[in-house]
Each structure stands twice: as C-alpha cells, then as structure tokens.
C-alpha cells in the first residue's frame, strides 16, 4: 500500500502550533500560563486513559490513583536524593506506576472488562488511604512539600520552566501515541477492543496486549503526577481523589480513541470554568454530569465526530461500504 501523503501545509501548521505552544510559556500572563500547565498535565494523563479505553477497550478508574502514586513517589525520591536530575525522577515515577499497573492488572485481565475497572477503582481509593497512613514518608493528612524540578543545584521551579518541561512531555506523548496508533501494537489493541474472540483467533495474546495498554496508561499517569506535583508545589491526597470525572469528560468531549482527542478535551475542560464564571464551582458535578451524558448520547465521538459531521455537510454523499 502507498503511504498516505501528508500535505505540506499540515506539517507547517503542526510546527506553528508547537512553536506557539512553547512561546506561550513565555508570553502568557502568569494565570493563563498556570492554566496551560494544568491543561498540559491533563493531556498526558488522559492520553494514557485514551490508549486504555479508546484503543484497547479496557476501562479504568485507576488514573487518579496512579497519578497520586507518581506524584508522591517523585516528591519522596527528590526529597531523599536531591542529586537525581528531574528527568530521571519523571522516568522512575512513571516506571514505578507502570509496574504497579502490571501487578494489579495481572489477575484481572483474563476476566471481563469491568472486573479490571473495579479493581482499579479499589486501587485508587486504597492508595489515598495508604498515603495518608504512611505519615513519616508522606506527611499524612497534612500533606508534603514537593521539591521543584532540579538538575544538581540548578532549580527550575517557575511556572514557565515547569510548563516547558510539561510541553516537551506533551509533544513526546502525542508523538508516541500517534506512532502507536499506526503500529502493530496499536492495531492489536483495536482488534481486541472490537472483538476479543476474533482477535485471539488472529493470534493476538489478549492478556499481554491488555497489560501493555494498562501499563502504558499507568506510566503516563505517573509522569503526569510528578509534573502535577511540580505545578502545585504542595501535595495533598484530596487533590487527586476528585479528578476522576474530569478525565472521563475530557476523553468523551475530545473523542474517545482519537490521537488528538485528549488535546481538544483538555482545552475544553480548562476553558469551561473560565467561561461559566464564579457560580460554576457549586454546580460542578451537575454541569459535568450533564455534559457527559449529552456527549455520550448525542456525540459519542466527541468534538472530533462533530467536526467530521460538519465537514461532511455539502460534500458529495458517499455510501459507506461494508456495513452489515
């Protein structure tokens, strides 16, 4: 098969977008810079969730738990061993999360999908309790200060520098997921999502592929957790336990299983409270719940699907082939 040619304008647009993204770390006012930082972190976590749910079809409530684990892991590591440069901390926390993901995933992945979903939920709520319990390490209920990212004695604590670190991660993650989307593994994920029996008869090792997707998601959550600890500078379990719903919302709004879905979703979710203003905070669960249900019912492919439908208006009609 011939490789699809990507238009030069598209490539140019992509580079422009990345350049703008990095430039805004310097140009935006502090408040918006911080919002952009949080948004970037959300992109990383939900991209992990996207690969799990959207690609491989395994549902997980574990993302906030893995994120909390990664954040505390990173903070404790860099507190005890200040000489470790921050990229290593990011990798270590991510890998530890991924390993934990393997441990939890292993007994569940031979079972129906929702067993794993429940195990991940149990994991999330347990990790919060464990963190609060391990007071000497984590400060318990009172929380702990998260050291700023550092290489040797150089510290990169400002919002701008953390945003730059996060931006590099976002670009890497987007690139990785785009590659994954078209790779052998990505196709295996989608095959088992669509029909496990058919996939396994095509020679796909179901448990192994599911574990891969799950560990990948946990890895990204761990990395995002460390970045989040750099952003908020002070860790408390409560920050993480309330995040779950926003992740699902980002995913559904952006388009489940789309490479750029988490990006659109995160932009939407970051701007939403800004647009709705002050009264919003009391009505959050109502608004989020309504948006979630509305999208699942009316636009299950999120903004991505809506955009495709709009573009199709006026275009010559093509009949879909192969729909049985």
């Amino acid at each position: 098969m011939e490789k699809k040619k990507v238009g030069a304008t598209r490539v140019l647009l992509l580079y422009c977008a990345i350049a703008t993204y990095f430039a805004s770390a310097f140009l935006l006012p502090e408040y918006w810079r911080y919002l952009l930082l949080i948004m970037s972190i959300m992109v990383i976590v939900t991209q992990g969730l996207n690969v799990m749910i959207g690609f491989a079809g395994i549902f997980s409530f574990g993302q906030p738990g893995f994120m909390a684990f990664g954040a505390y892991m990173g903070a404790i590591l860099s507190e005890r061993f200040p000489w470790i440069p921050f990229p290593l901390i990011l990798l270590a926390a991510g890998s530890a999360s991924a390993f934990l993901g393997l441990v939890i995933g292993f007994p569940c992945l031979r079972l129906q999908g929702f067993y794993l979903a429940m195990a991940t939920f149990g994991f999330s709520s347990s990790i919060y309790q464990l963190i609060n319990y391990l007071k000497p390490l984590t400060g318990g209920n009172e929380g702990m200060y998260a050291p700023a990212p550092a290489i040797g004695s150089l510290k990169f604590g400002s919002t701008t520098s953390v945003l730059l670190i996060a931006a590099v991660c976002v670009v890497l993650v987007q690139y990785a997921v785009r590659r994954l989307d078209r790779s052998r593994t990505g196709r295996a994920f989608k095959a088992l999502r669509d029909d496990e029996i058919a996939a396994s008869s095509m020679g796909i090792d179901l448990a192994r592929e599911k574990l891969k997707a799950f560990a990948f998601g946990a890895f990204l959550a761990g990395v995002a957790g460390v970045l989040y600890s750099y952003a908020i500078k002070y860790l408390e379990v409560g920050y993480f336990s309330n995040m779950g719903l926003s992740f699902f919302l980002i995913l559904v709004v952006g388009g489940i299983g789309r490479v750029y879905g988490p990006l659109f979703g995160s932009v939407f979710l970051t701007l939403l409270p800004q647009l709705l203003g002050g009264k919003f905070s009391q009505q959050m669960s109502l608004v989020y719940g309504m948006i979630l249900v509305a999208f699942v019912l009316a636009a299950p492919e999120g903004f991505y699907g809506l955009w495709r439908r709009i573009r199709r208006i006026g275009a010559p009609r093509t009949r879909r082939r192969g729909a049985a």
Binding site: F59, P107, F123, L286, G289, M290, L292
Partner: protein
C-alpha cells in the same frame, strides 16, 4: 464482643447485599452496570427524608413515596439514556451512568446542601442484651427486613411471569426475544426493580450511616461485594455482601483504623487471584 461485631457486620452486610443484588440483577438482565445505583439510593433516601422529617408524614408513606420515586427514576433513566446505548461499547454505558450519578448528586446538593443529615431510626429502642452480646434493634431490624426483601425478590423472579421473563433475558436474550418476551419492556422493568431495591437499601442504611450527598460511593462497595461472591447470579452477590460486611466489621479489631478503607480492595484482589469467578461463580466460556 465478637458476637456484637458479628451482628453489626451482618447488618452492614445486609445493606451491601441489597446494593450488590440490585446491581447484579440489572447487569445480568440488561447488560448495563449502573454506576448511578448508589446515587439512586441517595436521592430516594433524601426523598424519604423530605417526606418524613420536612413534611412530617408517617413512616409508611415516606417509604412508599421513596419507592415510587425510585421506580420512576429508574424508568426515566432507562428510557431517556440507557435505551439509546444498548449494544454499544461498555465505556459508553459506564460513562452515561456515571454522568447520571453526578447529575443526581448535583441536584441533591442544590436542594439539600452538602450537610450530613440524621435519618430517624426505623427500629427505635434500647439495646437488647443476650448473654454477653449487645444488639441494637436497628441492626436486627435491618437484617430481618433484608431477608424479607431477598425473599420477595426470590418470589418475584421465580413465581411471577415478569420474573420468569427477566430470568430468561439473563440466560439468553435472543432466545427470550424469540419466545415472545418483550425485551424492551423487560429492560424498563429491570430498571424499575433496580430503583426500588436501591431505595430500600438507602432507607435501611441511612439511620446507621447518616444521610449525605456523598452516600452514592457505596455503588463501588456493592460491585466489589458482588465480584467477591460471584458476579454470575444474585445469590453470589448476596453472599459477597454479607462476607464483606462481616469482614469489614471484624478486621478493624486487628488493623489500624486508617487502613479500614482498603479492606474491600485487598479482599477483592485475593479473591481475583484465587478464584476469579467469585466464591460461587461458574466459569463461563464464551462461544461464537
């Protein structure tokens, strides 16, 4: 001491069993896991509270009102949301029911605020002393009512036409359809029964655990209980509910209180490692 804790465990376990039973009944017959089950429960209990305390109506009216409300809620959610997602991916129905859960929480917060309410005891009275044990009439009442509800559900499923149709749906939807079961109507029935079970569980639970908008989190405990017992049928769910209730009231004697919350998870992981189909589950081999 142990005996009193056992009674407490049975009483908490009864409520878990009711929740787990409702969830499994619904999941088995319609294929949808209702993550809003706990919030159905929360909202209907608030309705009962409003009728009982705010409007000062008698207990029977309040309970009946809450059950009717829950039935309508179940019916409405099925017709408006779930009906459109049948046959779709699992993620869609999970997210939709989660969305419904948050909508219910939002509305409840608007009406009743975030405070914690004391729900009047359904079975008031002093502790009963039997030998060394001390039992509250509330616990005994909860245990007995749960057994009554379980028997009623058993009779409904086994002795009525609608119940038989539901069981047929659980076994084989295609065959049930061919035998003349009105599948779409039975889905509504399942959701109505699920709603009523949620309301009953909430009213039984509220006097011991207080009433607040955060009560819905019990959904997850219920599902975990169901998996421990065996997700395949409602009796497994009931067994799992009691086991989880007893274990989580006796274990705190031996482990620090801060870690109580991880008991369900640890129990779940142990069961999944040793017997992934739950204690009384059968291994189902999916055929094409």
């Amino acid at each position: 001491m142990i005996f009193s804790l056992l009674i407490d465990g049975l009483s908490v376990g009864s409520v878990y069993a009711l929740v787990a039973m409702g969830l499994v009944m619904l999941a088995q017959s319609t294929g949808t896991m209702n993550f809003a089950h706990g919030d159905f429960m929360m909202f209907s209990t608030f309705v009962a509270y409003a009728l009982l305390v705010q409007l000062k109506l008698p207990f029977a009216v309040a309970i009946a009102g809450a059950m009717v409300f829950a039935a309508l809620l179940g019916f409405a959610v099925e017709r408006l949301v779930i009906h459109h997602l049948i046959g779709g991916p699992m993620a869609a129905s999970i997210m939709a029911t989660l969305g419904v859960a948050y909508i219910l929480q939002g509305i409840a917060k608007d009406i009743w605020s975030d405070n914690i309410f004391r729900f009047p005891e359904i079975f008031p009275g002093d502790y009963i002393h039997v030998g060394p044990a001390r039992m509250s009439p509330q616990s005994i009442g909860v245990i007995v009512s749960t057994l009554a509800v379980i028997s009623l559900l058993y009779l409904f499923l086994n002795k009525t036409k609608a119940g038989t149709a539901l069981r047929a749906l659980t076994q084989n939807r295609q065959a049930a359809l061919l035998m003349g079961v009105r599948v779409s109507r039975m889905f509504s029935v399942s959701w109505i029964v699920g709603g009523i079970l949620a309301a009953l569980a909430g009213i039984l639970l509220a006097p011991t655990l207080f009433l607040s908008t955060g009560m819905g989190g019990i959904t997850f405990t219920g599902i975990i209980a169901a998996i421990i017992g065996g997700f395949g049928n409602i009796y497994g769910a009931i067994l799992g509910g009691y086991i989880l209730g007893i274990v989580s009231s006796i274990l705190p004697l031996f482990i620090p209180t801060e870690l109580q919350g991880i008991i369900p998870f640890v129990l779940l992981m142990i069961v999944l490692f040793i017997r992934p189909t739950g204690l009384i589950g059968k291994r189902v081999v999916k055929k094409v």
